[in-house]
Every structure is written in C-alpha cells, then in structure tokens.
Symmetry: C2
Subunit: 454 residues, 2 copies
C-alpha cells in the first residue's frame, strides 16, 4: 500500500503535469474523490498560478469546507477566483462556527446573500455564535449540542437519538457525550456515549451522568480552552452562557486547529512573518509583506550604527575594538533570546506570572553571571593572546558580562511589558531585545574602551 | 464562579504560603481533589525546591499519571524524589503507551520490578508497544482497541459492550468508535458509536460500518499521524501491523500532546533550549545547560571577528566601515531567517519538497533582490548624507544586496541539507545561517571596500 506521503507527492506531480499539458479534465475525477482537507492541502502545495484551473474543478459542495481549511492568504486568493453565486452556495452548507470564521472575508454582496438565505432558527444561532470573539470559547463553539433531561432513562435517550437521526438526517459530528440540562436549559451534567452503550436501558440519566463535569463559560479564552482539553483529555465540552445555560459545544478538532495555529503563529511571528503566509506565493506579493520587517530591522541597525559612530575616534586609534565589538553584541543577543523564549513560554503555560517575575529575573541574572564569567574569562585570554593588550582584554570581558546581564534582564522583562501594553510578545519581543542588546553592547564596550584605553 | 486562571494562581499562592509556614498538611486535602494534569501543572509552577514537600502529599495512585504529564526536567526531579517501591506502585496502573514513554527514565531496579509484576498478557502487549519507536503510530498507540465482527447485529454489540464493562470494570477511554475485524484479525471497517446509538438493534455491523476507513500502519511517523487526525477530524484511529491486523488504537489526546510538544520544540530549539527545560529550575542547572549554546555562538562570533581583523587596515583608514558593517550583517541575517522559517514550516507541512526546491529558491532570490534594491537605495542615500563618500555608499548598497541574496539562498537551502543529514533544522538552522550571513557579510563588505576604496 502506498504511504500517504508518497501518494500526496504523486498527486501534486500528476496534477501539475496535467496542467502543463493543458488537460485539466484528467484530474477532475481524482479531485471528486478527495475530502476537503486533502483538497486544501493540495491547493496549498501548488504554485499560486496553478490554483485557478484546479479550483474550477473542485465540486461546489466541498468548496466551502476547503475555504475553511486553507491558510489565510490562499483563502483570499481562492475567494477572488470564485463567483459570488458559487461562494454563497458553497458556504451555505457550513457549520455555523466555520461560517463565522469565514464570514468577515466574504465579499459584502455574498455575505448579504448568505444571511438572507438563512431560515430564522439558523439566523438566530448564527447571531449567537457571532456575538463572541473568535478567540473565545463562544467563538470556537458550534451550536449543535444535543441535550437530554436528567430524569429520563437511557433507553429513552437511545430512542430519542434514533428519532433525532431520522429527522435531521445525521447526528452532530464527533459525538462522544450528551449534555444534560434542567427545565431552564442549565447544564447539570454530562452523559458519556460509552456509558450509554454499556449500561443497559434501565438506569436514569441522573444516576449515571457525570454531575461534576464543569461546562466551559462562553467568554473563556481559546488558549485556556485548549489547556482544559489537554488537561482533562476531553473530546468535546459543553459551552454555557453567564447564567449557566447550555448554548453550544466545542469539539477537539477545533481545539487541535487552534493549537496548530498558535504554534505556527509563534514560529512565524518570530521571523516577522504572518502565519497565514502562503509558502508558494508569487515573489511580488511576498516582497511587499517582508519589506516592512526589513525596514524595522534597518531602523534598529541604524541606531546601533549611530552609537558606533560616536566612538569613531577610539576605533581609529584601536582597530581591535571593531574586531571584538560584534562578539559583545551577539553574546548579549543570544543570552537574551533564551530568557525571552523561556518567559514567553512560561507566560503561555501560566507558569510565569507577575507574582514570580522578580525571583525569575534574579535566577536569570545569576545564570547570566555564571555563564558570563565562564565565557568572558575564555574570551579575555583569547583576546589577550590575539592583540597582546591586557587592558583591552579586561574591558572586553567586562563588556561581555554586562551585556549578558542586560540581555537576560531585557529578555525576562520585555514580555511582561508587552503583555501589559496588549502587544504580541512573540512578534515584537525579539526585535526590541536585539535593538536593546545591540545598542547597549556597542555603547558599553566602546564607551568603556574610549574612557579607559584610547 | 472563579475563572480557571484565577483559581490556579490562587492555588499556587496558597500552596507556597503553607510551605513558607511549614504547614504542608494544610494543602493535603486540596491536592487529593486535583486530577493528574492539574497536579502536574501545579508542580511545574512551583520552584524546584518547593516540589519535594508537595510531591510527598500527592496520592500514590495518581503519581504515575502526574509523571506522564510533567515536562522532562521536572519529571526527572520527581523520579529522584520518589522511593523505588512508590515508583513501581505508581507506574503499575498506567496505560501501556504511557508506561512505555516513562519506562526508559525509571531507575533500572524499578523498571525490572515493574516488568516482573506484569501478568503474561500485559507483558506481551507491553512488548508490542515497545517494539515501535516513540515517534511512530506504533509508539503512540494504546493496545486497548475493542474489536467486533462484521456479521453480528448492533444489538449484539451493545450486549457485548455491557458484558465487557462488567468484566473489565470500564470501557477504554475516549471511545468514539469500534474496530471491525475479520476472523484473521484484519481490520475491515470502523463502527461509530453515534451510529450504534441511533440505528436501532437490528442492522448488522457490516451494513452500517465505514468500510472505507483506512487504518494507520504502525510504522507511520507521528507527524503524519497528527496530519491525518487534523485532515480527517478523527477522535481515534485503529493501528494495524504489516499484514493489516488490528494491534492498537491511537486517541486524539495523544495526538494533541504530540502537536503541543512539537510546537514547543520548534520554539525552544530555535533559542537553543530543550523543550523539556524546567522554566523554574535553579540557576546552577540552567547555567550549565545554556553554557553550551553560548559557546557555540562564541565560536561563530570569533570566526566573524577573524574576518573583520583581516581588514583592520581598511577600517583604520576609513572608520565608517566599522559603523556600517553591522547593518550589512544584520539585514542578511533577518532576510535569511525569514526564508529559513518559511522553508522549515513548508517541509513540516509537506508543501515544500525536493521537487519544488529550485523554483522556491528562485522566488526567494527575487524577493531578496526586490527588497535589497529598495532598502539598499535608501541606505546608500543615508550613508552618503552621513559620510559624504559616494564610493563608500555604493559599496555599502552592493554589500547589502549581496548579503540579502546570500542570506535567503542559505536560509532556503540549509533545511534541505540538514534534513538529508538527519539533523534537526530547527535547532541547527538558525546558528548555521547566522554564522554564514555574518562571515559572508563582513567579508563581502570589507573586502570590496578594501579593494575599491582604501
């Protein structure tokens, strides 16, 4: 049996060849057999220019789901490649939480048409989902939770599910448990399907349900929801409003998407990239997006250059300063990045809070001091052997230790400051840190040298 | 109702206070109510020195699960804090996939005792799990899959589950579907619990099962398993051996742990940190682990310093070179990091393969050229206004463009080379890239300047 990796590479290659030979109908049958995630993956693996001809052969009934699955930039491109009618038709069938993710990106005329085509119940539910921000439990939930009453028997629940299925055509996806609600719609417990299938028909729901199961309040942050799912090994969880009334259900697939998305954000933002970046976008659009990041970095580098130029005279008299100064700066940047990374992770996991900020800073400073003394001694000996200038070696070693201390202090504290300013520590942290260690490092090394040596 | 965030911070604070007042018995009751993941989270949020007294009050029957949940460094500490008997007792109750994760870290005497205490069936199953590497489907699976025959009715399946539960005490966790196997144990389909609870007792399994459900071969890589779960929105999936025989089952909670772990690895390794790093470890052990990374960086910086010293004479004659050279180097590093990050992500998502390596490199080079021309022009004008030296400005601009091109070329190709060498691109990529852009940047800028200007 072919491995999934091999079959994907083969699929991309065969689609690409059919396109090159201008015979797209050759892969139409193949596309019709693929599920939406596989289609999304295929489209993302093609170059931007190849996506149009392939998109045309994707059946309309799965186009909506494909749009949900693809990353932001590719999604934008595919929406532009579609007609309004086709889009309205494609998104009509989506789950409401998916539709709500997509809704803001639809052309206004399409969004209007979609709203008008909804029946009253679907419209009301959609308004409920849209009331909560996308990064909260309310934004992640779907409104298809099945609720049963505590006083009925398991046999009655089985009958109810069979009827539900006949009327609705299907049960909600990823069903592992049912919510139990009282007459006011308040969540009172959770009934596992595995209990439902193994305890016989007689027991009452209230006697076998998990009454201690805590539902998730709709305002809970998505990051916290992900932690709850991981900590409690949940497959799905009910969502309740302020009054404790059941309003929806979060399933683990949405949580997995969120975790993956957060992880991508952390990695990509660290390099100044949007996680929605299309890996295979054309050069021109990539260049525009990246120019800004290079420009920000350029401003930093110019300020650092300004600091160096303040000490031009000292460098002219002692050119070894120009040789050693990048070492001072780079050691501070590396040590600071380690503290920054550790604190950003600690904040995300809630292991680091304002309450242990100062002990953590003290720990980081001790680490920097220990490593600073170790490596500064080694470097001082090397610098002395190289330039035969004991004074320079001592100044160099002192600057390395000071910049390491400054780097870890900045790396530890910057995330707290950015968090208070409601800025993204992942995106802004590294830039600010490196600007700081560059400027401080050049200043302290060249300044001490100019004062003591030249 | 208190938010989960607030209650965790309050818990950590109250435990810490009880420890400070030497009254640990005050939180013993509280600990007994916490589930293993919450206990693990609490222990990780305490300083290393506080963990011993708390660990003593964790009930033995959850200690095993807590050990599975905590990160590597903290796990190592907790194992050292436990007696052998306690450990053997604690891990005895674990699922076999969890035990197999932990097994290698147990003291040899404990590991032996655990093996000897197993009955033959459990021992055989454990050997099966351990046969597969931890980062494959076989390593992720648990061996508690429930199998039914295709020719029985749904009513008979319900009876079987009720009996299974009476005999075993419980059903496997996170049960959303049952595997259907033929007389040889080969997987022939999957029966969803939601079908089992809504289609009545009469239908035969073979008429309602999903016969197209593809089981996961045991050698499939864990990364691919995670992609399959995401692409197909799975809650659990059967695992089969080479002959297609059912040997186990992977549940989504293990996949979520893997995805989270991979994400942490990517973030932490980028800063030269192990993802198992204990955020709140004591200074001394942190310092030892980080010293190596600083040392590697120091070697890089020394080589770059060596390049600068080759052109000491030119710098002495034209000190502006020392002022501008960090800009050349930093722009190349930033642009290269963007390419590197994009390619590493593309490789992980299998959007980038050997087949589109060269078109991607061309795209990255065009992006670098466009941005290089833009920012190099700006910088040349600035440098000219600053130093009034047209020749220097042209050399500076040319060096920036060349180092941007070199940076993106290196950033694009390094991950492919590292992957072929079976090295981790996340850990080694950035170090090699920065060494390259530093050395190349200094060399090309100072070299051109020495040749043309000084």
């Amino acid at each position: 049996m072919p491995t999934p990796e091999a079959s994907k590479t083969a699929l991309v290659a065969s689609v690409r060849q059919a396109l090159a030979e201008r015979a797209p109908e050759r892969f139409a049958d193949r596309l019709a057999q693929l599920a939406a995630p596989a289609l999304a993956d295929l489209l993302e693996s093609l170059y931007a220019a190849e996506r149009g001809p392939v998109w045309r052969f994707v059946p309309t009934q799965v186009k909506g789901e494909v749009l949900v699955e693809v990353h932001g930039e590719v999604r934008h491109q595919l929406i532009e490649l579609s007609t309004g009618d086709e889009l309205a038709d494609a998104v009509q069938r989506l789950d409401l939480d998916e539709l709500s993710d997509l809704y803001a990106e639809l052309p206004p005329a399409v969004a209007d048409a979609v709203l008008r085509a909804m029946d009253t119940q679907r419209r009301e539910r959609f308004d409920l989902v849209r009331r909560y921000p996308a990064d909260t439990a309310g934004g992640l939930m779907d409104v298809d939770a099945i609720a049963v009453r505590p006083e009925v028997t398991l046999g009655m629940v089985l009958d109810y599910l069979a009827r539900y299925r006949q009327e609705q055509g299907r049960l909600p996806e990823e069903l592992d448990s049912l919510s139990v609600v009282d007459l006011d719609g308040r969540h009172v417990g959770q009934l596992a399907l595995s209990d439902l299938v193994s305890l016989g028909a007689e027991p009452r729901v209230q006697d076998v349900m998990d009454a201690a199961f805590e539902p998730i309040p709709a305002q809970t942050s998505a990051a916290r929801v992900a932690r709850l799912f991981e900590d409690r090994d949940l497959l799905s969880a009910p969502v309740v409003d302020d009054a404790g009334r059941l309003i929806g259900r979060i399933t683990v697939d949405d949580v997995l998407d969120f975790v993956r998305d957060q992880a991508e954000h952390t990695v990509m933002a660290g390099a100044g990239l949007d996680q929605r970046t299309d890996t295979l976008a054309p050069a021109w659009s990539s260049a525009r997006r990246r120019a800004v990041w290079l420009g920000i970095n350029l401003v930093n580098a110019l300020v650092a250059a300004g600091v160096i130029s303040m000490f031009g005279g000292a460098i002219e008299r002692l050119v070894a300063l120009a040789v050693l100064m990048p070492i001072v700066v780079s050691m501070g940047g590396v040590a600071g990045t380690q503290s920054l990374t550790l604190v950003i992770r600690g904040l995300a996991l809630e292991q680091v809070t304002a309450s242990n900020r100062w002990p953590l800073l003290r720990r980081e400073l001790i680490v920097a001091l220990l490593n600073g003394l170790l490596w500064a001694s080694v470097m001082a000996l090397l610098a002395n052997a190289w330039f035969g200038n004991a004074g320079l070696s001592v100044v160099f070693a002192a600057a390395v230790v000071l910049n390491l201390l400054a780097g870890v202090a900045a790396g530890t504290l910057i995330p707290f400051v950015l968090e208070r300013l409601k800025l993204d520590p992942v995106l802004a942290g590294e830039v600010i840190l490196v600007a700081f260690t560059d400027i401080f490092g050049f200043f302290v090394f060249l300044g001490m040298a100019a004062w003591l040596l030249a």
